[in-house]
Symmetry: C2
Subunit: 248 residues, 2 copies
């Protein structure tokens, strides 16, 4: 009764290719700990674990390598890359530069249906928080940001941010619980939602900025905890994220 390919067709009309399914499989493997960052793997092994040939697996990994999620080592294998403090900071800087204006535009462009959809995701986040289901929470968080970006109307921005989120996901996952701040992250979304419901771009932008900065600091803390890359993080942050000097 159950279909062989789970969430198959998207809505693009075509069934997904093996390459695409492999990409999802690798992402899932990273999420649930099957693929450990730093460990050395090979296309051969992964291919017959997934029951497909090496070609689509290789294609999938090459695409993921493009975004920095994995790295190939010639004649050795490939590794899942755990982003360091430097990379995380860079990513936060990009997200600030793109998502803050996106939130502003979204506040102006949102239709009633859009607002309702955002509200839905926000409430789903609420449910996930009380249920303590971090996986579900991350999913709704992603959808919230995704919806907001689509609203802003720039498909390039959406794609870029989606890729960056991929690279950071494995830092945030199963670690936020540690600092019991799932609730905090959830609450930071409320001012964003409110500002968009009220159509106030500057407020929405400011709220998004606060949210991203706070999330960024959390991720950096987490990254510092697991690797010994002890904390010159503050210098990095000021250097790459710190607000551009306004005066001279």
């Amino acid at each position: 009764m159950s279909e062989p390919s789970a969430e198959a067709a998207d809505r693009s009309g075509r069934p997904p290719t093996l390459t695409e399914r492999t990409i999802e499989a690798v992402r899932e493997g990273i999420r649930n700990g099957t693929l450990v960052p730093g460990e050395l793997y090979s296309v051969y092994r992964l291919a017959d674990e997934l029951g497909v040939s090496r070609s689509p697996v290789r294609d999938a990994l090459l695409r993921l390598a493009e975004t920095g999620m994995v790295a190939f080592e010639r004649n050795r294998g490939f590794r899942v890359v755990l982003p360091g403090a430097r990379e995380l900071t860079e990513i936060i800087a990009v997200r600030l530069a793109l998502e803050v204006p996106a939130a502003q535009r979204a506040a102006v462009r949102a239709t009633a249906a859009d607002r309702a959809a955002l509200q839905n995701e926000y409430e789903a986040m609420q449910v996930s928080v009380t249920a303590g289901d971090e996986t579900a929470f991350m999913m709704h968080d992603q959808r919230f940001h995704g919806l907001l970006l689509e609203l802003a109307g720039n498909a390039h921005v959406t794609r870029i941010i989606e890729n960056l989120r991929d690279a950071t996901r494995l830092v945030g996952t199963s670690t936020i619980r540690t600092s019991r701040s799932l609730e905090d992250v959830y609450q930071e979304h409320l001012p964003i939602l409110d500002a968009i419901q009220q159509g106030s771009p500057s407020t929405a932008g400011a709220a998004m900025r606060r949210h991203l900065e706070s999330t960024g600091r959390l991720l950096l803390q987490e990254a510092a905890r697991k690797s010994d890359t002890n904390l010159k993080s503050n210098a990095l942050w000021n250097d790459l994220v710190g607000h551009p000097p306004v005066g001279e």
Copy 2:
């Protein structure tokens, strides 16, 4: 006497792979008109034109497809994609969001050597203008922006912009001459350079903004000229690039 692979080793120590060389070959083919946008090509033909097997060619094209330069059509072939007004506008919006802050940071961080390097590229642009060598001009223009981005210290930003430039290159090339504005584009770089020499971030940011907006409008004009996508460009521009509303 002449090496088989021209500008081989980069400086990464390793010789470039066939895939990488193919990527460069495709880019070059697009630049010099061997590969016509819109036309249907196949991996088979391209592979034996380049004298390699289908694998590296396919890998190369998949990577280029990731950035939107080419598009595959299942069982049909692939096309070089000419970006439309929509895509161009989106790209300009991203560049504004990322390169303006980058210019600000660069103004603060630049060392004497950095300033000299920028000056060099600027003067090389000058030479290209008087020589009427558009290809060389584009190259130095790219290097100028590339140096500036590296200065800003965010490798992700550098990579993103580099990819976007790729997608737009085939619109700008051999068309700027039409509006005889090579000189204008050159002159717009002076205020940027000056501001960085003087270490003034806000001035550098403003100059960069003016430059990108002006370049963007030129590209849009050009795109509108060759495709019949007649000009609702202005609405697009205001929608995606227009400064975010400052007040409420």
